[in-house]
Symmetry: C2
Subunit: 354 residues, 2 copies
């Protein structure tokens, strides 16, 4: 059975969604990027029996289970679908592997000719497994917990497809974009098209909100940022809004820095997730009140814990109170995080505000 967002959302609005209706809640709703993951022993137990990492992403029962684990433990205001941004290239037919401790490896695409290896019509069976996970989650989650679907932004996904792995400067994709912008545009267009289908299916299956992860947005000069980050995101968001006008879309243009306000205004997203390096004074003056702000605690403070964590949580809450705001990290939880520090963080976020 398929739940739709229309079937579950109207009566008691989920707290996570209220900032998107203009409400400045204090304490703010809270969830954490990579809240399902290796820092949790119960995740490691499921991971150990799941086969490969992609097998886990495509196993609706297990993927739903690991999505639910941190919600059970901490009572977050939102769950985020457990999956990976490289499901999209995998579903398109590119070979994607996750070697333990080494990050992803793909057979790289190096020119427009290689695009023939991608098959947009082949994505359906794999996308269907992810959509099935979303359906299960919407049934199993507490009614007041929102469910966030996601995908990687076309630019960031392309950097892996072209580079064949993560890199510190995304030079292979950037080089292709400079030397053959029309060919690279074709790759980006394919990614926008399949991401529309992928995210729209997540909403139909029960996702209440969507997040677009653009982890490598920060490596581009301004002109390239507008072409490969802003323009494709804008087309993706517009298509989603046409089908699902009431479903909020959050963008996470990691490293966008100075260009984050332009991203917020020009892409049509409803909220911007702010990375660790974005100064609170800048978020407060340039983004807060103009879009829903999400962020931006340094995940390393969750490893340290203690007084440094307390102080920073208070600073972030103080800086961003008064406008629609969702508490989150500025990047994903790291595996070394003591689980009790995550509980402490949730208490700090929800505790009385000075």
């Amino acid at each position: 059975m398929n739940w739709t967002s229309a079937m579950v959302s109207p009566a008691a609005p989920r707290r996570f969604l209220e900032p998107f209706h203009g409400k400045a809640l204090m304490p703010p709703p809270v969830w954490l990027m990579r809240q399902a993951g290796r820092y949790l022993p119960e995740y490691r137990a499921v991971r150990a029996k799941a086969g490969s990492f992609l097998d886990l992403c495509y196993n609706p029962a297990l993927a739903a289970e690991v999505t639910l684990q941190p919600v059970r433990r901490y009572g977050f205001d939102a769950a985020i679908l457990f999956s990976d941004i490289l499901v999209v290239p995998d579903a398109l037919g590119q070979r994607v592997q996750f070697a333990e401790g080494e990050g992803p490896r793909l057979d790289p695409l190096r020119s427009q000719r290689d695009l023939a290896r991608l098959n947009e019509d082949a994505t359906r069976p794999k996308f269907a497994l992810v959509h099935e996970t979303v359906s299960r989650l919407r049934q199993e989650l507490p009614h007041d917990t929102a469910l966030i679907g996601f995908c990687g932004a076309p630019w960031t996904v392309a950097t892996y497809m072209v580079g064949g792995q993560g890199s510190s400067d995304q030079s292979d994709a950037r080089q292709w974009a400079y030397s053959d912008p029309e060919g690279f545009q074709r790759l980006i267009d394919i990614l926008v098209d399949v991401s529309i289908e992928y995210l729209s299916g997540q909403v139909k299956a029960g996702a209440d909100a969507l997040q677009i992860f653009d982890s490598w947005a920060g490596s581009l000069p301004d002109d390239q940022f507008r072409r490969w980050v802003v323009a494709p995101t804008k087309r993706l968001v517009a298509a989603l809004k046409a089908e699902h006008p009431r479903v909020p879309v959050i963008g996470f243009p990691r490293g966008a820095g100075v260009l984050a306000p332009a991203y917020a205004m020009e892409t049509g997203v409803d909220g911007v997730s702010c990375d660790t390096a974005m100064p609170l004074a800048f978020i407060s003056s340039q983004l807060s009140g103009k879009t829903v702000v999400q962020g931006n605690l340094d995940p390393l403070l969750l490893v340290t814990g203690g007084h440094a964590l307390e102080r920073r949580v208070a600073e972030i809450k103080a800086a961003l109170a008064g406008n629609p705001f969702i508490f989150n990290l500025g990047h994903g939880i790291v595996p070394e995080t003591p689980p009790e520090n995550v509980g402490r963080l949730v208490d700090l976020v929800r505790g009385s505000h000075r």
Copy 2:
């Protein structure tokens, strides 16, 4: 024999230095980060006979030769001492190795206790070799070519000393800074102290200007940025200014983004080198006219060349004309760069301005 900057600078001021006297030159002076390096066949020939990479850095004859090579080929307005930011930890007694194609490897420092392995008094013999290179260069360079000395900023050097190698997020150093700020401060203080001595010696040996490379400035939240980037740089610059008030200091806080204007105003640097991702409109409105601006062409455009290179050079010149400006890249030249494209770039920078 030792030349001093006082002995060589007064009569015909070097063109590179004029922006630091408030002059907006068009065409602007030009040099390129990593202009001496693997993209040049004559560099590879010297490198092949030099032993290890650090052997080359500590060989005054060969280090001077590779510094001069790009000046001979392209007639840059400035030479930059050929060396490496990891000379400082090496001179302090930390084991530093450069494995071919893998980047540097250091025996990592993990806590305050490990600081006992560093010996500030041991730096002199190795620093003396670098200073000897500077002396030779000042004798061999054309009189109108400026000579830039440099070091790594304390924060960036510390990230390598603590992490033991480069990383995408500098988490080891950031974690130490959170969990034991006093201990980490001691490491930073040592680096500031020896960097003062190292750079001051470069000026005494003939450097006309200095650049402080803070390649990992962009990974820090605002409060950490002020403590580990701004404050140590400010102390370093103040000490240099006390001894050498007329020698310009350029800071390169790569990735600082929104915080670059604060860096420019608070550290006391005379100029800011802007990375590739810093938008031209932001540089123009927030930095240009307030400090000497240097930058910020994407080095990957030097690989591509052609019309894309031409267009971007014109955009940068147009955006930054009218205020003191030095043309440069936003990051170092990459090894794949065709040498003829560097020549083309110099022609484009010096060609008539639309």
